[in-house]
Symmetry: C2
Subunit: 519 residues, 2 copies
Amino acid sequence: MAETSGRKRRGGGRAGAAARRGGAVIEQMPWRLPVNTDRPTEPLGPEGVEAIHEGAMRILEEIGVAFLNEEALGILREAGCKIDGDIVRFDRHWIMEMIAKAPSTFTITPRNPDRELTVGGDVMLFGNVSSPPNYWDMEIGKKVPGNREMCRNLLKLTQYFNCIHFAGGYPVEPVDIHASVRHLDVLYDKLTITDKAMHAYSLGKERVEDVMEMVRIAGGLTEEEFQAKPRMYTNINSTSPLKHDHPMIDGCLRLARRGQAIVVTPFTLAGAMAPVTMAGAVAQSLAEALCAIALFQYVRPGIPCVIGTFTSNVDMKSGAPAFGTPEYMRATQMTGQMARFYGLPMRSSGVCAANVPDGQAMWETSNSLWASVQSGTNMVYHAAGWLEGGLIASPEKFIMDCEILQQIERYFEPETFATTPDDIALDAIKAVGNDGHFFGIQHTQDRYTTAFYQPFLSDWKNYEGWEAAGGIWTPERAHHMFKEIVANFEEPPMDEAIREELAEFVARRKAEGGAPTDF
Amino acid sequence: MAETSGRKRRGGGRAGAAARRGGAVIEQMPWRLPVNTDRPTEPLGPEGVEAIHEGAMRILEEIGVAFLNEEALGILREAGCKIDGDIVRFDRHWIMEMIAKAPSTFTITPRNPDRELTVGGDVMLFGNVSSPPNYWDMEIGKKVPGNREMCRNLLKLTQYFNCIHFAGGYPVEPVDIHASVRHLDVLYDKLTITDKAMHAYSLGKERVEDVMEMVRIAGGLTEEEFQAKPRMYTNINSTSPLKHDHPMIDGCLRLARRGQAIVVTPFTLAGAMAPVTMAGAVAQSLAEALCAIALFQYVRPGIPCVIGTFTSNVDMKSGAPAFGTPEYMRATQMTGQMARFYGLPMRSSGVCAANVPDGQAMWETSNSLWASVQSGTNMVYHAAGWLEGGLIASPEKFIMDCEILQQIERYFEPETFATTPDDIALDAIKAVGNDGHFFGIQHTQDRYTTAFYQPFLSDWKNYEGWEAAGGIWTPERAHHMFKEIVANFEEPPMDEAIREELAEFVARRKAEGGAPTDF
């Protein structure tokens, strides 16, 4: 084909290309904010939407949600909610009035303003795997606790891949760093290795304030500039059923007061922390999220909030969580309908139960990622690198997932379904007629290099070519790529004075003892 | 979980279950005709549909399609088409008039009437991989030419899995059987090993007539009964661009005259046998299919016809076909819109370019299968077992694909998104309140065993459990299952007199020399 088309090689092979583009190992698609214009898949009719809404409202009115946070209870009492111990019951009109204050679309601007994100509308963003305590790669060959080097390597992948738009929590928990100062070291790594949007765990006031301060410093921002628009976000989970814990709410209130974005993601496993029926689990998840978002809107009207879903089901045999299942897909689609009903941006995830990056991992992850597309999800957490229901992070899985994410980005490109006369190509069809082929004609020549998705990991050689190249299965190809990317990685530019200020902040806060570890 | 729920084990473990149900190795979903009620994903607006239709019509009117079949040329001349050598140009009104005669829904009734299929509407059917010349399994560990034993084993999987609705072409080409009698031996195997809907290759009149005769015998049917409704089908490919070869048209005409069903599937690889632009490739594919279907409707008005799509793109680097790509997905969705525009049932495929059943195989296959769902496809060819762009059949891939197919079937079940009061489960949520869990409550107990999809191949154990069970990756698990299924396989019942009549037919036709091999 290279011969018949006369198409120019992009020159010098992999090594040459890498040298020219400064550390590039693969040819990947450019950074962009993907736009999902597919009409969402909507399993619910209007009466289904109404039934789930009614369910969520009655949960909030009749059962209530526990807020294990005195400050929140005080605020909600002031707002007129009914408080009984730590249980808060809400009036649906107040909930809807507060929710209406949340923007349907907002931006997050990280230290590199070229990486500014739009969250909401038909924009779909992908983030790296967050928070697994363990790590697996093909070289180690088994599940091991995460450490700082593993975390740094996964952050390099987060930065390297243009299809990853935001940095989630720690891509693996570096348990070799003491918990009191872990946030300082990892945020230093995150802020220097990546220039993408940052996240803070809501795990105590010191951590939250430290992270906000480090993001402010990394951006070279005054406090006023930091607060002027969202520079970062937090993501909290409720403690299902129907409970919000102290540090989560505390962290969100701190971010809200400094104008930063909040994602509220109940973790409602149907049959365990939520009803065994998917619509019930969705209704409960919505109730948990909506009351927290209402609280934040009351405190700071208009603060950016995202409604998250993490509704899946358990394994009937073991009670263990299952991910990327048919029920997960439907729950995600239903939550998408409800997020649009409430006018809120939505978060879902790229998930699987598989323990290694094999076929099962890919069908479960594909199921969850296509459900994200079908649901109109705006932020896809864990979009690359997740295994074992979130207990393992894997660089091979990360790279394999990025191949799927790029395909989704390409799938969104209008050229794939354009119908201009040039696309219908009647003249080209006429020129080729009933014999011959389209390889060499001008219509093909003019479009050949950009007409189709070009994979970086999929091997499209025939069997003999694949065998001659070593007969390497997908995860091993990904492993080699991982080593190459890390070996050639170049950090994004950062002003030296800012780097020093960050390092000084970390040193000072470490000297002060970091954060309490009794959370 | 088994303890807390008090749920009864289904008894006796795998071996016990297998013994009870006569050869069952796994617990699978029952046979059903899946109903896809999702609104299709439609990338084209009305003007896009019109542009592609206009393109297809102008191809038929201005360029024409070669029919290398004298009989067809005579019929089309009689019908008023413009004939120039073997090029036929069509009037669009005649095309649309003929197409309108084709039913939008029809049935195929195989020898076991319980396996009757509805083709069209919102029914979605899956067929086994068809026609690879080669075979790969984990025991052999390399690509080898297919043989009769491999073919028989893949037919056993075709019969075994309830999610496989029809038998396509040979699941692997048994090249150890001489081509002159291959159809006789394989059809004997197909008709005795499976009781599902049968296919005939349109490769010469002897083969086509032999297969129809064997299907008639296997069904215990008189010729009148055989012709009374579709008992089987053929699938033909055009020779793109814009050409129909002799044996394909001949075979279809023979089936049409005996009332059997026809699938017309152009194989239009964008950039090779079709324009490099996807809409152009789709328009050409439609033109090739529509003119053949129009011919069959003219010969036998109302004969069941399915419009197939096999539009994908080539690899920019090698010119080799690529499958399960973003462009493939869009082409399939666009063809779905056009099939509905023309009122015809639609066929697409489960496809990948991967050479082994690894992660790449699964994301490519998932992409193509979800595109089938999104497009409203009625018949999914190659839905299980295909590798290397259709050049390899693999039993491991077959079983892995069936896990995805079952998940699609479960995804369609209305219970996954039902919103009755029982589904919203307000009383259950109230009972559990803000503490505790849903494991043990009555609402969960009542629904637990059927609430969620139960995989047969996915391993949902945690890493430690998976490792303790041998740490087996997906394809190896599938391989073990393959061996067990084949070892325990029991043929569906067949009347002994019919079996003898079939065997006698095969013996007689072999004695007569079978079919010519100069096709």
